[in-house]
Symmetry: C2
Subunit: 462 residues, 2 copies
Amino acid sequence: MTALLPADLDTELAALLGDGWRTDANERLTYGYDNSRRHAMPDAVALPRTREQVVGLVRACRRHRVPVVARGRGTNTTGAAVPVAGGVVVSFERMERIVDIRPGDRCAIVEPGVLNGDLQSALAPHGLFWPPDPTSAAFSTVGGNLACNAGGPRAVKYGASRDNVLALTAVTGAGELITCGTATTKGATGFDLQRLLVGSEGTLALIVEATLRLTPAPPARRAVRAIYRDVASAAAAVARLMAQPVTPSMLEFMDHHAVRLARDVGGADLPVDAGALLMIEADGDAHALAHDVDALRRAATGDGLVSLDDAPDEAARAKLWAARKALSPALRTLAPGKINEDVVVPVSRIPALVDGVQTIAREADLPIVTFGHAGNGNLHVNILYDPADASQHERAHAALPKVFALAISLGGTLSGEHGIGLAKRDFIPHAIDAPTLALMRALKATFDPDAILNPGKLLPPA
Amino acid sequence: MTALLPADLDTELAALLGDGWRTDANERLTYGYDNSRRHAMPDAVALPRTREQVVGLVRACRRHRVPVVARGRGTNTTGAAVPVAGGVVVSFERMERIVDIRPGDRCAIVEPGVLNGDLQSALAPHGLFWPPDPTSAAFSTVGGNLACNAGGPRAVKYGASRDNVLALTAVTGAGELITCGTATTKGATGFDLQRLLVGSEGTLALIVEATLRLTPAPPARRAVRAIYRDVASAAAAVARLMAQPVTPSMLEFMDHHAVRLARDVGGADLPVDAGALLMIEADGDAHALAHDVDALRRAATGDGLVSLDDAPDEAARAKLWAARKALSPALRTLAPGKINEDVVVPVSRIPALVDGVQTIAREADLPIVTFGHAGNGNLHVNILYDPADASQHERAHAALPKVFALAISLGGTLSGEHGIGLAKRDFIPHAIDAPTLALMRALKATFDPDAILNPGKLLPPA
């Protein structure tokens, strides 16, 4: 029992959800955060087991105009899962069944609460995988991945979440159960609602079942580490790599700050004249792989290349990846505070982005370290500062809109894979023009006429 | 001057469009058909040169509640371009510029009227291509391909139109110019409107510019022709082919009727015990190709295989494809009338589809020939009949809903690549459930509040 919700709604939902209805303050507390480190207290937490319960819950909340906030495991970084307007958090942790795996159809049907990592484990014996591989994969849900259009390093070859969904069943803000798409890899029948729902951050509908497009797992992979004199040389190599037919399965970039940090702080084995680094991977079967790695080595070779190492086995591969892995701990030693945003630009504009970010860093008098998924032009820009230092705090947060403005001016946008949530919501009018934003608001109202789904997220207040 | 439109609208649009405004009956006549062989007379034809003209035209037509029907080159097979409610046909033949090709970003920016084939020619020197390859590619437009989510044989490896678009600029039925997406291969910023517009058949907005995702052109290809004892053996091979890591660049199927026709009528060199046929292609560079073809040959091999031939060069390849090419002329000799629909089912259900179609054929006492894009489960079902024979005509058209019901019962849907238009519109309620269809109607009203865009298409009357 809680005094925060209308008493009859509380009664109705307690009856509907049984032990999946929680109003105890201690329990609600843990459902109020996400990995953005924001927190807001929900009025109740629902743990549905069936789509029918989700329909009943949304309809009941709609009658009372009570917010409904879908939640996977809260790994997103933008505040998208934080119930800033209170209401009911719907955690899908009890809807975590893998309903079906159909290897011949290259698809799997899952409930939204299944963990990405658990799904991959279940797919492995079939020689299949689901491409999205966010850093959080071991402990983030497929529903959350879909809600945020999660990506990861593999997206350069295999696409992000939106590219790997065939069909969705979902409950709109009107409480209607809709079925979008079919379990087929082609379709030209009606409007494509499933890809519209992907990345909509729970503002249009709650996904209750997903039919995922699977890919045959490559039996082997090989990594190449390319070190360049400077960022421009590395960026030119990225363009060459993406213009030839062998698409790398990963193409990760580290700017000169990231390289220096990995070496000087993280202890990675990197030469002093390393001004930028690319980690390039190919995957496939063993025979084709040797040839593909040759093609990637040729494309990586050019003006400004300092060294090119490849890894014949998994141990050597791990050694090459050590520089990248050393980076995150090194970042933490440099400054206690970090704003990490994941802007995206056309691949050819990576040098302009990195240069522009360094200009912003000089103006802010703060280190900004850039690394990430170069093959998609999706770079993580890390503004480092001490939150206890008021001036640094202010300069860091003043630098952020400049980074966004820079990405937009280069033909890119605010986010490649993290999404918008609360963190970037107020920058949306800079990225999306007024008529298009007005249409998005109208679409939101079509799916969710009483604006109960995840209020305050993704779209700024009108 | 025409009496069919309000005089002040005619005057306004004549001033806006200059020599791109046509009201002469002879000229209008040629814009009233499409490849469905349906015809309806438009009241006027607009040939805009700029997006501003399109905005002005839609706003003016909206004020007068006059229909606006977008048109590429009218190659679609569903009646989607036929102006059944009259109004203004907007032909994009004068908006046919390739605005930019950016090889490093793997994208091209084009106006909607550019022909698919002309785009491919312009991309070839850059070593790139745009994947959609409908049969009509030489004379269909990119805008039309996007409006219908056109596919083709290559879609099994490279996706259909929806999978190969990054951003769209479009004019909604409200006359608003919207910009959806960015020229980046990843994005998590707002709702994905661009993929919603693809396949919407001009019912939501008119595309005035497209940023297309390009793929590096494989330097070589090789074909394998696999002949099976029966359809079930061929279908089992399709499932094996799609479950291993080397994705074929084409995977085309012909059922026993199609094989027999190609041999007995088309003169193709095929053994008498051929009960089904697969044309399998791999592409890539020459070195990897030999290995990939080996992998595909292994996957194609299994119970019921009669013969397996591959083509070391283009001449041999053409010889292998001869059976497929002989099919269409052979179909025409068999019966003067043909209903060709392109249902799609999960790959594993191909045998059930082909079997079920033959049951329908027996009941109708008409030949039905099935062939098409097996790797996507997207099969073209051809009901052959004599339109001059009233009984055959009736039986043929009575068989069609049974084919659709069969595809839907197998977890598939009405169309994989042709779209809905008029031809399949009234079957939509069988493929899309009532709440989802209601939402699609509401979305349509959000984009096009006065229902002026391509009225009567895709969605059945409420």
